[in-house]
């Protein structure tokens, strides 16, 4: 898979790149060169500058100093057009497409073919097919792009980057993939990595910006690590292991204390996560006490079928499965967001099924929900840190006639911010978008991990945050469980799920496919259950 790329001469060189956004120095004096036919990963924590470097190379950002040279030709800084003409392309999520137009129109948007005064739909279709079908011959280019799955949309974006002009000039030579798999399922991600290798085999240079370790080791030839906007090292992937890479990224070696489930270690990534999870919760879940959360025969039309589970105090119950298995839907159902739920949802004796979100968060019930998409489902970006944390309990802590008691609020917020170590300039004036991704996530967790919460639903609690903050969040989760909080955890990062959970339920197509405990808790078992169509809850109680 990893043939030796042509080591002769770099196709693209970035020299001495610096870039500041306001007071933040995103890149300082970074130099990297990229060889023809290689997949070259740019890695680093969030805010390390890897995305910025990719965007500078593609002409989306204009660097303050430094040059990008493609085969002796210096590219005009910040010119997408010039980069395009030279054959440098970028595929990234914010460069999203128009979901209301057909795939063909999206692919030809920059240069719609004309016949007289009318659009030449046949030519457009032909051109789009010639691009898309290189990657996936099953895509019908006349359907609206909005109907496609995220994975296929990504494929269309990559197809678009392969475009050249009418004379066949300007063919793509270098393509920057900016976090290409962040919204894809595992299956789609592996398809994408196949395509990446395929493109590299055709002689293209792929600059692969990602923070997913497994992808780096699966499909990349070389890896350059950035930290705090500075160049750290470039290594050949074959010659480096994961702990070294993590060390380069965070600048220190993480000690590796005893992990919770020894047998879950499958490969280096798992080891790294295990080490991040660190000291596992010392106390066993209280299986002797009555369950905190009991679900029986919970159904939601088209989403969930007969879900039953019990969650005990102090337990972390993992929910595994592939994207689309119904895990987030289950959380929506428990939390009262899904209004069409039938069956019984019982929290410590209170029946809340079908009663809505308000019933779920009431002081006596104490449900908390950290949703997967903090930008759209979680935080209020127009409000301060204080209101973001206190939003669910505001009605209970205010004075008469709904007047806010600012002193009291501030004290509560301060204690929460201290406990969760949220780095913020001000409690009241700072808005969430001024925080780093990791601090935003801690802010959201701080909202729900309070003394009145008895059951906490965590959906992808560490998505898109750096390793350092991940370790902090793991610690918080474990501590909370030790103090008796019952936690239901969804994570697509399997080592994380395995390392944190006491038990794991595997979901698929809206049903619970099985339960795994102790020695059974391995990545292989989860994947087998998740993908097995006939599996029912066969693995033991």
């Amino acid at each position: 898979m990893r043939d030796n790329p042509d080591q002769s001469k770099p196709v693209l060189t970035a020299t001495g790149i610096s870039k500041a956004f306001g007071i933040t120095q995103a890149l300082s004096d970074v130099s990297v060169s990229f060889l023809p036919g290689e997949v070259h990963a740019l890695m680093g924590e969030n805010g390390a500058g890897k995305s910025t470097l990719g965007k500078v190379i593609a002409g989306l950002h204009k660097q303050d100093t430094g040059t990008v040279t493609l085969k002796d030709r210096e590219l005009i800084p910040g010119s997408l057009d010039d980069a395009f003409a030279a054959g440098v392309r970028i595929v990234h999520q914010e460069l999203a497409q128009c979901p209301n137009l057909s795939i063909a129109e999206n692919l030809c948007l920059h240069d719609i073919p004309k016949k007289g005064i009318s659009v030449d739909f046949d030519e457009m279709r032909r051109r789009a097919e010639s691009l898309v079908h290189q990657l996936d011959p099953n895509i019908d280019v006349t359907q609206p792009l909005g109907r496609l799955s995220p994975g296929r949309r990504q494929i269309c974006q990559i197809a678009a980057s392969l475009d050249k002009d009418d004379q066949g000039n300007n063919a793509a030579k270098v393509i920057v993939f900016d976090e290409p798999t962040s919204s894809l399922s595992l299956t789609e991600a592996s398809t994408l990595m196949g395509i990446t290798r395929d493109l590299a085999a055709r002689g293209l240079t792929i600059i692969y910006v990602s923070h997913r370790m497994s992808e780096i080791f699966t499909c990349c030839d070389r890896v350059t690590v950035l930290r705090d906007g500075k160049y750290v090292a470039t290594s050949v992937v074959k010659d480096i292991d994961e702990p070294t890479l993590v060390e380069q990224m965070i600048g220190r070696r993480i000690s590796t204390p005893g992990a919770k489930h020894e047998q879950s270690g499958e490969g280096v990534e798992a080891d790294a996560i295990e080490s991040l999870v660190g000291q596992s919760n010392s106390q066993e879940p209280h299986y002797d006490q009555p369950p905190r959360l009991i679900l029986s025969d919970v159904c939601s039309p088209g989403k969930l079928h007969n879900i039953s589970l019990k969650l005990y105090p102090g337990e972390i119950l993992g929910v595994g499965g592939l994207v689309g298995a119904g895990r987030s839907e289950l959380f929506d159902a428990i939390f009262g967001i899904d209004k069409r739920v039938t069956g019984s949802i019982n929290v410590d004796g209170d029946e809340i099924a079908g009663k809505g979100t308000k019933a779920a968060i009431e002081a006596g019930v104490g449900l908390g929900y950290v949703p997967e998409d903090r930008r759209n489902q979680g935080l209020f970006f127009n409000l301060g840190i204080d209101e973001n944390i206190l939003a669910p309990i505001m009605p209970d802590i205010c004075g008469s006639f709904g007047m806010r008691r600012l002193e009291d609020e501030l004290a509560r917020v301060q204690s929460r911010v201290d406990k969760f170590q949220i780095k913020t300039a001000s409690l009241r004036e700072t808005r969430p978008n001024e925080l780093s991704g990791g601090n935003q996530q801690k802010l959201l967790i701080a909202r729900w991990m309070s003394e009145r919460t008895k059951v906490l639903l965590l959906d992808e609690p560490t998505r898109g945050i750096d390793v350092g903050t991940k370790a902090e969040i793991y610690k918080l989760i474990n501590e909370a469980a030790d103090q008796g909080l019952a936690i239901l955890l969804v994570s697509s990062e399997m080592p994380e799920l395995l390392a944190l959970s006491d038990r794991v339920l595997v979901m698929g197509e809206g049903v619970i496919k099985g339960e795994l405990r102790g020695d059974q808790m391995t990545q292989t078992n989860i994947l087998t259950l998740a993908t097995d169509e006939s599996a029912s809850a066969t693995i033991a109680h």
Binding site: L95, L109, H110, I117, V119, R152, S190, T218, T531
Partner: protein
């Protein structure tokens, strides 16, 4: 690390749907965005026709008789009577003999017989809805704002809005009226028509250009800019005739722009505005769905950032769309002048709402990215049909707004449900 082990499960749902919907001709017809509107229009017309048939309007019509015609009044037993010797309620038939030709009219169809002039008056029962004059009235009333709605569709596809269309319409009409009233009485159509069209459309174009360039150039949401323009232009429309002519209505145009062209009679109706509406709809459909400019409008409405990165001159396209909307308001204003023969300061009051309603009923989404010119015209026709139904059902005009408001909400809810169902199937 074993991420590849799930690679065998390829998602395969996405390319089934199109082939199914494209199968039959009927399926294709019903999947079309405008088919729902056409069905609604046909249903409304059926209901109105049936109602109009059983509740006909009655008028009197003179039955043409030759001077030598002889009229006998027959009773139920077919005995003939002289006029004045039989009570009207006993008459069963009127028998008219003109030369060799004898024809009978049942009494129910005859209003009266005037013996002094030897004239027979028939009661003329007509379907209240399905008659030439009524249908052409509906279409004519629709055409004035349907033309503007085609432009508005472009604006709404851009995720913009133009609240000033009613005021642009009134302002261009007043300026056009001033130009037309200055022409000599006997000016030919080749003078009056270009003068009227050019004046109205130039004024409209400039107003639209102002809307577009201000909202793009100043980076202000078009809602605010066009709200301001709505008030400014309406004010100008009132002030100018008052200050210059001390009147609220400017008339006295050459006949050539009225009965000569815009109000020209064809088959007993005045169809010119309707023809213009159809023409504008066809051009609008072509531009939006078949030209690069049109597809760029959809692209911007779908995702402005993506459009920018695709090298589309977003600002220029936006300005052009607002400008064209202004031009169409001017065109509509010119039709109004020619049809009614005077420009009034309260012309097009609250038209912006009717125009937006037409586009929304026609399937445009205020979120942008969706809408069609044909849909907007059909939406305008639906609005006029509702208006007409209120007249035919003899419901007080004051209820119009209630029904109209409810219709808009229902239309949008139905459309959204349809979208959701389609999205689920796709």
């Amino acid at each position: 690390m074993n991420r590849t082990e799930t690679a065998d499960q390829q998602p395969q749902q996405s390319n089934k749907a199109p082939s199914e919907t494209r199968g039959s001709f009927l399926g294709r017809l019903f999947s079309h965005q405008e088919s729902g509107l056409v069905i609604v229009i046909i249903l409304m017309m059926c209901v109105l026709t049936v109602y109009g048939h059983f509740n006909p309007s009655s008028g009197k019509r003179k039955i043409e008789l030759t001077p030598d015609a002889r009229i006998e009044l027959l009773d139920a037993q077919n005995n003939a009577h002289e006029v004045g010797t039989i009570a009207k309620r006993n008459i069963a038939q009127y028998r008219v003999t003109q030369g060799d030709d004898v024809s009978d009219y049942p009494a129910s169809r005859i209003d009266r017989f005037d013996a002094t002039t030897n004239t027979l008056y028939a009661i003329d029962k007509q379907n209240r809805f399905l008659k030439k004059s009524n249908i052409s009235l509906v279409l004519k009333d629709a055409s004035f704002f349907a033309i503007m709605a085609v432009g508005m569709t472009g604006v709404i596809i851009l995720a913009g809005i133009d609240l000033s269309v009613g005021s642009i319409y009134a302002f261009s009409a007043i300026v056009g009226a001033m130009a037309l009233s200055a022409l000599p009485e006997g000016a030919g159509w080749y003078i009056s028509l270009p003068v009227g069209m050019l004046t109205c459309m130039t004024v409209g174009t400039l107003c639209g250009l102002a809307n577009g360039s201000m909202s793009v150039g100043l980076g202000v949401h078009p809602f605010v800019i066009t709200l301001g323009m709505m008030a400014v232009l309406r004010g100008l429309t009132i002030v100018i005739p008052q200050q210059i002519f001390n009147t609220q209505s400017i008339g006295g145009f050459p006949d050539s722009i009225m009965t000569g062209t815009i109000k020209a009679e064809l088959f007993g109706v005045h169809p010119v505005p309707v023809f213009v509406m159809i023409l504008v709809a066809i051009i609008g459909w072509f531009v939006l769905s078949r030209t690069v400019f049109g597809r760029r409008i959809y692209a911007i409405g779908g995702n402005e950032t993506a459009a920018q990165y695709a090298g589309i001159p977003v600002g220029r396209v936006k300005i052009l769309v607002y400008t064209i909307t202004g031009t169409l308001c001017g065109l509509s204003a010119c039709l109004y002048l020619g049809y009614f023969g005077a420009g009034e300061t309260n012309a097009g009051n609250a038209y912006e709402l009717q125009v937006i309603a037409a586009t929304v009923i026609g399937g445009a989404s205020l979120m942008g990215g969706r809408g069609t010119a044909i849909g907007a015209v059909l939406g305008a026709i639906i609005i006029q049909l509702i208006n007409n139904a209120m007249v035919i059902f003899e419901i007080d005009q004051s209820y119009n707004q209630i029904v109209m408001g409810a219709a808009i909400i229902i239309a949008v809810v139905i459309d959204q449900t349809k979208q959701r169902v389609q999205a689920r199937r796709g």
